[in-house]
Assembly symmetry: C2
Homo-oligomer: 402 residues x 2
Amino acid sequence: MKRRSLLSLTAGASLLAGGCAATKTPPATAATDAVQGTGDIGVVIERAAGALTLVNTSRREAIGRVQGLGDLSHASVVFSRDARYAFVFGRDGGLTRVDMLQQRITHRVMQAGNSIGGAISADGRLVVAQNYQPGGIKVFDAATLELLADVPASMPGGERSRVVGLADLPQHRFIYSLFDAEAICIADCSNPRQPRITTLQGIGRQPYDALLSPNGRHYIAGLFGEDGLAMVDLWEEQPRARRILGGYGRGEKPLPVYKMPHLRGWAMAGGRAFLPAIGRHEVLVVDTSTWAEVGRIPVAGQPVFVMARPDGRQVWVNFSVPDYNRVQVIDTVSQRVVQTIEPGKAVLHMEFTPRGESVWISCRDDNRVQVYDTHTRELQASLAVDAPSGIFFTARAQRMGF
Amino acid sequence: MKRRSLLSLTAGASLLAGGCAATKTPPATAATDAVQGTGDIGVVIERAAGALTLVNTSRREAIGRVQGLGDLSHASVVFSRDARYAFVFGRDGGLTRVDMLQQRITHRVMQAGNSIGGAISADGRLVVAQNYQPGGIKVFDAATLELLADVPASMPGGERSRVVGLADLPQHRFIYSLFDAEAICIADCSNPRQPRITTLQGIGRQPYDALLSPNGRHYIAGLFGEDGLAMVDLWEEQPRARRILGGYGRGEKPLPVYKMPHLRGWAMAGGRAFLPAIGRHEVLVVDTSTWAEVGRIPVAGQPVFVMARPDGRQVWVNFSVPDYNRVQVIDTVSQRVVQTIEPGKAVLHMEFTPRGESVWISCRDDNRVQVYDTHTRELQASLAVDAPSGIFFTARAQRMGF
């Protein structure tokens, strides 16, 4: 009896409060849902729909969807320092700031004609976009997306270079490569309205992508126009570029390349880097103290992403067409493939949970994201997502070079 | 005119909504504050008051306080997978679950008479406490603090051993050492109500603390009763303990030891481990492939915490009495002290922000937490906190062995 009247009262009060709140703020239910930790959430790019599926990695399910992000056919994401906001860089030059708690777009700007990703400073205040067209970088206030600086990648003849391989460095600095200018640049944005640019010239022809090692020490750019890679040791007093891994791109008998591997997927673990051979069905093993190749692991196709589980014990590999329905798992101690799985059609990306107990795999042509236990390789969950590509979890906010 | 009437309307609606909400839910202001990301928050232990100061590392300020946590004279903290809840292990055996968004205690149990810390599983479901008295571990449901298993650390004679050095391993396993029994145990809690225990015997006398390497591969226990340390390579098929660093504790002329160093502070970076010498004014440098000592760095006192900045470029060291007003910064490339700072009286703990741009330092006897830029070593902020000791940021939720 007593309990019953309490329930009635609560229901009545609830309706009343809901009615009031609607005149001023989002519905009470939305506000309640928004009170949640953000350590275990993330986004999946829906590349065809131009939308994000928001996911929770503890419950292993979708928790919402945000639409209206434009062309996400080649999109990437960085996160705010508090892990509440996702900054989405679309191929069409759109930069969108999404509130993952309120599940809505807070700011959106068309900042270029053709863009290829971005980065965020360690203090979370600056977001930088790298652009193909017009070639250069742009610096934004992360809270408002106000443009703070437009830094054209100018070449001697007055033309602009496409920018690739952008990564954040400490002290409001960002590093990137100029595809058309054989150069690596470091932009010091301590004064974000007037960045100071240091340029390393003659690094090699056509750097097409780059990565920063997990500790932020080594910046490595792949060269499309010649063999080998350009590396900069950022811990040196006067950083300079030097060539490593001559022969990386070639091998004895070059194969046709169906898709350029993503350098950013490089796995570094236990003094070894595992990287995709270009065109060959191999993962290369490199000693990270000498940067010499020390082994090759045969795999099932042309590798695209070669990613280390956070503990470095395993490396997971996906492949270009026609082998893109498979994923292989390499044991880094024995340096052998220990399992081949078939998660679904057109595997485009993988993302590990922060401590590595699970991996999420996007299967574009099955409209599925598959979640595997990395120890048992058993399927833990399967989520329906429209044409999923990139998967990004908020733990990236805590790491350099993402 | 039009604008003015709009403002009036908004103000009226706002008051009305506030009145309604108060009958049903917490005040609107509290609910609004609770909608925030949790990637940049943390807690500071107030050891005398038995309270937590909640902090935000983006704004570098205190954002709240939670009291009633009992004896926090030697407390430690782990975080839920979503980075919303802090699990606080008090010296008095109290285990408290704190909601950092609502700024309140959700659950609290007195689970032992004397406790020394705990750990949480990668999936966030199990919290385990390590106890001195009665000696053993206890397994709890992280959502409710329901006791799932009580695992006494029984010895052949029927007595119980004190438990130290607890750390989480993959697949619901936890590793710990028995101070009184010369043993290291691994508890498999796949069935959390019936853990299965594997014991490695004869590891050496009186393990007093232990650490897990950042990749989860090596578990290393310090030995109080004899020279050297016990190490287990957890990637081996049949893990076993072996002795490393004989002479670690002794040196030619032992000094009186004012405070045992915390092993958990060990810094591992670039194939080197930096660890506190016991009793000597030195930081030892160890090659992590051979586990042999390869150098010694003279420092200003007996080191307590020797902690690597997340990128491994710097190691920060604090000291036992009488040198505990200083902190020294070691450059790991040159292996030399590059700066000595004096943050305040009685430096007890340090915590780096996730990407390492700042370090927070607790100065107990000044009732201050000092925040430094790790690159310039300039003071960035100074927070008034009552007798601060341990500082813990939510990025720990993303890492093994914390």
